[in-house]
């Protein structure tokens, strides 16, 4: 499991300034750590599609935002993704909760479609199952930054 204090520490090391989020039950466990970290601003949206436009404004304005949503919210975000990634070519970073990934044999359609949808959008991804993967995640986002590309960290979840 990826834990709040470790993810907050990792995001600060990456220079993330704003976390734009709509949590699920795993991502939600990070709330205390994210809210307590003075180097991060936690911004709450009502629907996941909003998060990309809000983050786009932050990025254009000179901040380093990170979108944090569950995969179901990624599905909801289609038109916003199309716009910020392809019309405006903004190198957005996101963490996406990968619901049911850890449940062997799960028939959850959220699990079934997460990776195909990300592939369809042409997004580079990295799967993280626990705090042990956060160093790789940091390297992945640094690589995205060097290439000026967007990137998505997939956070492995059980029931989400």
């Amino acid at each position: 499991m990826v834990t709040g204090p470790r993810i907050a520490e990792t995001l600060c090391q990456l220079g993330v300034t704003d976390v734009v989020w709509l949590p699920d039950s795993l991502l939600g466990t990070w709330e205390t750590a994210l809210a307590a970290e003075p180097r991060l601003r936690l911004l709450r949206v009502c629907r996941e599609g909003e998060a990309w436009a809000l983050a786009a404004g932050l990025l254009i304005g000179g901040r380093r935002p990170l979108v944090v949503v569950q995969c179901t919210g990624l599905f909801e975000s289609g038109d916003a993704l199309r716009n910020v990634l392809f019309d405006w070519r903004l190198p957005m970073w996101a963490l996406v909760g990968y619901r049911s990934y850890l449940l062997a044999g799960s028939t959850d359609t959220a699990r079934r479609f997460t990776e195909p949808v990300l592939a369809a959008w042409g997004l580079d991804t990295l799967l993280v199952e626990s705090d042990d993967g956060l160093e790789r995640l940091a390297g992945f986002f640094r690589s995205c930054q060097a290439d000026g590309k967007p990137g998505v960290g997939l956070i492995a979840e059980g029931r989400g």
Binding site: D18, L43, L54, D79
Partner: protein
């Protein structure tokens, strides 16, 4: 007058361009985020480097993009336009804006009751939906509504000085059969110039 809706509403509507000209005269260094019909007219009136024409857009998201700019640039005032059709696509955004509590943010809703970009079809709730009431209920600090050009001219400066986040609903006339979104330069060049203008202070 904070947290009160000051409603000046009838069946009247004001000409869109004249309503925008009032804002143009008052913008004084503000970032202006336009979208859809507002882009069409504002791009004709203004050629300021702090204009961000959010076109192509994800319809309904201009207020959120403007919110991001306001939070990233706290020393600048930001005006974000939205149409009523766009507003209906993202009513939750009003709550997101209110929750973020930007100190430098004004949302202008241009309400004409139709989807003008697609030929003038009626929006859901046209004539009955009350955006100003929604803004207040969402928690925006200052909300005003105008349907008369002279009254808008009289109070516009005062409205822009109200405590933020502000929402101003303007009832405007449709542009009509000549409606057509403008042809703008490619987004990449516009974005680069806008960022340069921000960096220049």
């Amino acid at each position: 007058m904070n947290s009160e809706k000051w409603k000046v509403k009838s069946e009247k509507r004001m000409p869109l361009i004249a309503a925008l000209e009032v804002l143009l005269a008052l913008r004084r260094g503000r970032i202006v985020v336009t979208t859809m019909g507002a882009t069409r007219e504002w791009a004709r009136l203004s050629h300021d480097p702090l204009d961000f024409h959010y076109l192509p857009s994800a319809m309904g998201h201009a207020p959120l993009l403007g919110l991001g700019l306001a939070l990233a640039q706290p020393a600048r005032e930001v005006i974000a336009f939205n149409g009523d059709g766009g507003m209906l696509m993202g009513l939750g955004g009003l709550v997101t804006i209110a929750a973020a509590r930007p100190a430098n943010y004004t949302l202008i809703v241009l309400e004409n009751g139709i989807y003008e970009v697609t030929g003038g079809q009626t929006t859901a709730g046209s004539g009955t939906v009350d955006f100003a009431a929604m803004g207040l209920a969402a928690g925006l600090t200052s909300v005003r509504e105008f349907d008369d050009l002279d009254t808008w001219r009289q109070f516009a400066a005062e409205c822009l000085a109200m405590p933020s986040p502000r929402m101003i609903v303007l009832h405007v006339e449709p542009v009509g059969s000549n409606y057509q979104l403008p042809t703008l330069e490619p987004a990449a060049g516009r974005l680069e110039r806008f960022c340069a203008a921000l960096a220049a202070g």
